[in-house]
């Protein structure tokens, strides 16, 4: 009976794992669908004008910023939405725009009010470098994609959907692990 119970537990675990993987894949596909639908709203020629932090004051950045927030507001589960461009260095990207970054917002803020500015509270700005070994970003330069597993960086653990904007930009959309597990 012990062996039987053990076998059932193992099978149950495998089936549950399989089910969770399928559901995670579904979430990845959903993020990819949002990214691909949203990507058509951004023009590479607009993004070309955004190179440095001071460009965040340009009307084109404000338009992109508003559009990103509108997309996020339409999809409440989205945590982060941003546009990256590759650099000359391997695995180094550059922020072009972010739904949480603007010239009038603090670069670092004590969000959890613990008196310390932690890395997770650090804000981004146009031109800020971002190191990532996430292969989906590279794929996302050419075609829509999503991360097969959780990605971890200083801002948290997420599943990411990406889609190309033109041929030199990637639109990234993240869902936090808490939302995925929900």
């Amino acid at each position: 009976m012990g062996a039987l119970a053990f076998s059932i537990l193992v099978i149950f675990y495998v089936v549950s794992y399989h089910r969770e993987e399928i559901l995670k894949e579904q979430i990845g596909e959903r993020l990819m669908a949002i990214a691909v639908t949203a990507a058509s709203q951004f023009k590479p020629e607009d993004l070309e004008q955004l190179r440095f932090a001071e460009d965040m004051k340009k009307p084109v950045y404000q338009r992109v910023f508003e559009q990103m927030n509108e997309i996020r507001n339409s999809n409440k589960e989205i945590k982060w939405i941003y546009i990256l461009r590759p650099t000359d260095q391997v695995n180094v990207w550059e922020f072009v725009a972010d739904a949480d970054a603007n010239y009038f917002l603090d670069v670092s803020d004590d969000i959890n009010l613990n008196g310390v500015n932690e890395p997770s509270e650090e804000n981004v700005f146009t031109g800020m470098k971002y190191y990532s070994e996430n292969e989906s970003l590279l794929v996302g330069l050419k075609k829509p994609s999503y991360t097969k597993d959780y990605e971890i960086d200083q801002w948290g653990t997420v599943v990411t959907g990406v889609a190309p904007i033109g041929s030199g930009y990637v639109l990234g959309i993240d869902m936090g692990i808490e939302e995925v597990l929900n």
């Binding site: 039987l4 076998s7 059932i8 099978i11 149950f12 495998v14 089936v15 399989h18 089910r19 399928i22 559901l23 579904q26 979430i27 596909e29 959903r30 669908a33 949002i34 691909v36 639908t37 949203a38 990507a39 058509s40 709203q41 559009q67 509108e70 997309i71 339409s74 999809n75 829509p144 889609a163």
Partner: protein, 472 residues
Amino acid sequence: MFDIKKLAGRNEIRTATILLGFIVLASSIAFVLFKYTENLLKERLQERLISIVSTAATHIDYEDVIKVAEQKDENSLKVLVEQLKEIRDANENLRYAYIMRQTEDPLVLEFIADAETLEPVEVLDQNFDGIIQDEEAAPQPGDPFEIADYPVLRDEAFYHPSVDRDLEEDQWSVQMSAYAPIRNAEGDSIAIIGIDVTVDDFLALTQETFLPFSLFIIFLILLLTLQTFYLVRMWEERVEAMRELDRQKDELLSIVSHQLATPVSSIKWYLEMLDDGDLGELNNDQKEHIAAMRGIGMNMSDLVSMILDVSRIQLGRMKIEKQDLDLNSFFHEIIATIDPKATEKKVEFIKNIPEKMPLAKLDRRYTNMTIENLLSNAVKYTPSGGKVNCDVKIENGNLYVTVKDTGMGIPRAEQDKIFGRMYRASNARNAIDGNGFGLFVAKGAVEAQGGKIWFESEEGKGTTFFVVLPLN
């Protein structure tokens, strides 16, 4: 005592029932898990479509929608169609993307734009016959669309992003539609954007999900079947071992009782010789002692022959010797044996025996043992002041004997065990002496002669035994 064959059969049935139960349980769990996963997948699919349409809605400028709807503005129509095409082309399985608004008729919507609205004839003419059939025509601004069959479109879609509740399947594919409101600057919904998505991959995914569940069920059933076979085999081996032990015990009992029978008989004869004075006159004290010893010897002899009968029944070696039996003298002798016992115990013994009965072909010893056993039990288990009835009749070539008492009765829960070897009812076990062989042997003796024995009993009120024996 228990019947090993019956017990083995019962356990096989129990094992099969447990196996069946396991299979049903495993199948139910797997089915519930599968349905649960299928529902989750459907929910995820619906969420995905809502996400696409919600994101697409942010792409549409409400002013363009108003211009097309109210002024038929061609530039705005071009912009909308271009945006709808971008949305459609960006998503692999998206077949149609369109914008509609409400009309005065709550069951009719009106098209504002469709991704195919401005497509040239050669693109729309899917069967290449040079003519645009109704089903090939692209919706144009102002075209009506009846929504009686689309409950989501009737209301819900104009308030918040919505999706069809169920998949829609036609001969080409499985689809699902999703809608999101397009709002003006004041936040009022002025139109909806709709997308129709083919979700054939959903069915494939569902089937893919079903595979591990099926494997789970099959593996579990195999595992349980193997285990059940193993258990049944183990049980059969045990039953066989118990059967062999039982047979050896009966054999031993038979040998022991055979070996005991001769010396006990010898003791009885020597005591008889002593009592008869063959070895010289005895004084009164000696005679009393010899009489007591003869009584003990008789009891011993009865017990040994009873054990011998039990082992004969167990080993299937019971030998019935039918001979002419004068029932008149037969019952006379039995009554003569029981009467003193009843008188001594102050039990009223009522006999209802025909005056003249025919000769019967019966085994004298076994028949005597059966009837005498039933009558002496009746007297033994009936308290002083009670009654014992003995009714005998001859009918249809059978001898019917009914022995009824007003004794302690047999508890209902134990009635099916009362003919078992060495079984004694719980209410008699500690109150009255006995060995539990009597009814076992009586049943064996009656059935070996082609007869039947049964009883009716009520605890505290009494018991009636019925015996039927064929006369020939």
